[in-house]
């Protein structure tokens, strides 16, 4: 047999897990966090793309005395923002979500 058993027999009873309040908290918190961050990323990116497509003059505005434009600053900001978002997610997942997951797994093992 190549396939591992497809349904996790280790998770004795998925229904019991689904009723576990800790599991419910984990799922609720993580999915709302992950979807919120995803939507923020998509909105920021689309706003940038729409600005590129429709707001040329605003993007060409000079920042300060030099030739630097708003478009370049915003573009670099989107790159840094994307990385920062992944950092925020990982920081929360490594602490809060991993703690909840450990608790859930322990509870089920009992």
């Amino acid at each position: 047999m190549l396939q591992k058993p497809l349904l996790p027999s280790e998770a004795a009873d998925p229904q019991a897990m689904l009723r576990d309040p800790t599991f419910q908290a984990l799922v609720r918190e993580r999915s709302s966090f992950a979807w919120s961050l995803s939507i923020v990323m998509i909105v920021v990116y689309l706003a940038f793309i729409f600005a590129v497509a429709f707001a040329h003059d605003a993007m060409a505005t000079k920042i300060g005395a030099g030739p630097l434009t708003l478009g370049i600053v915003l573009g670099l900001a989107v790159i840094i923002f994307a990385f920062a978002l992944t950092g925020i997610y990982v920081a929360r997942a490594n602490t809060r979500f991993d703690d909840l997951t450990r608790t859930v797994v322990k509870e089920q093992a009992r």
Binding site: M17, I79, A82
Partner: protein, 563 residues
Amino acid sequence: MRVLSRLAASAALLIGTATAASAAGPDVAPVQQQGLNVTAIVIFVAFVLLTLYITYRAAITTRSAGDFYAAGGSISPLQNALAIAGDFMSAASFLGISGLVFSSGFDGLIYSIGFLVGWPIVLFLIAERLRNLGRFTFADVASFRLAQGPIRTLAAVGTLVVVAFYLIAQMVGAGQLIQLLFGLDYLYAVVIVGVLMIVYVAFGGMKATTWVQVIKACLLLVGATLLALAVLVHYGFNVNAMFADAIAIHPKGDAIMAPGGFVKDQVSTISLGLALMFGTAGLPHILMRFFTVRDAKAARKSVFYATGFIAYFYILTFVIGFGAITYLMPNASFFKVAADGHYNKITDLIGGANMPAIHLSNAIGGSLFLGFISAVAFATILAVVAGLTLSGASAISHDLYASVIARGRSTEAREVRLSKISAILIGIVAIYLGYVFQKQNVAFMVGLAFAVAASCNFPVLLMSIMWRGTTTTGALVGGLLGLVSAVVMVILSKAVWVTTFGHPAALFPYDNPALFSMPLAFAGIWIVSTLDKSKRAMAERAAFDAQFVRSETGIGASVAQAH
């Protein structure tokens, strides 16, 4: 209009590939073979010897299917992040984006951003669940509770289509680039790339492929850092001075500091934006990387580090592009100069539109640095094609053969053997196609690969993980709709219908189909699944709970084998 069409052409080929040379289209057609660059060859041979040694070591320790496909889950998050970055930062990201910045300034940044923003989405929605549910390929995940036969076949077809088009583009780009950089004959260049990728994959499996990516990623990051640093040091880290110089020298002047050709066709811009963002989450060779780490936490860390490397790299390419403007444009020796002493600072660059980074290395560090950067570009191509080949080979052996044809009655040893044979066959086919397509403009193939990844692989994967209602029939119909519509729309678009087939007008007016094919796939999955009242559909919905628990907690997830 000229600007627009050039941007459109670059758009397709920039998408994470090494179609670098082919991107330039007519610019590069008469590739001039240069004299042998000794430095480049010495550094490249050193790279090859090192990677072959690693492949030999990997071959000794690769025994099980888990070793072959997923390096036994033994890759650390940092190594995996470098390997992901290595898979993603192709020669076209490096040469193509810096080339686009060179010719258009700001517009190059749009691609960098599009490539990068897919990563947070991969992290938030895909990476951890993928690691918890799968073993070797993303088809493991998509078919977790759905019918193995049809869903694995669909995923394998999606994988092979993406791999095939991506590989052809890479091979043609590689052949032309290497011909130019090393003074090697096109056929030799393609054969060397093909043979090396076969050796890495067939003998070393995922371990060797990962190490090739890691080494290449380090080389590329070092090379790009040195280039950008030299430019910044030259301007005393005053970027405004650099921009001011660039504006004074560039024929487009102030226009390089703001959006250019994109403004004319908003629909194509947004469609391309979607393909860039969501295609990343459907690239089979990228998804495969999440199975090489120990657990979901390691998968999560890999994406975080990889996003950092990739973001850093794209900021460097922007600096490199502007540096190339100020260093190269005033210097006639980098251009094909007409008899009257005139040259076009954008289109007459020797070697074509993708060469600014290469010439810049020459301008900064002479032939030694030129050789180093050329060798890095070659290593980059090699690493990307190896990743693609492994992904294609596992689709054939793990998904099509072991699960669909042999219906799980095969042995691991036989599956791995078939995977090695597949890698050899894919390599031979890639060499052949690279040779056949030598004179073709293959830029559209990369656009197609990304569009298929975003319109077939990504919707099927996401819906099967996230939505209880997804059924086999729904996933199959929606996935096929996305796949077929993406391919058909690309064929009817200007890149193929007009440029390749020579018809007068394009039947599909936009450059990228994702804006239409992606919603079509999601709608197909949703509608057909909702209408599916069969017994199998009921059972599949009922099986969602168990899948959900495992995807959220990792309980029962396949674990790394200890050695």
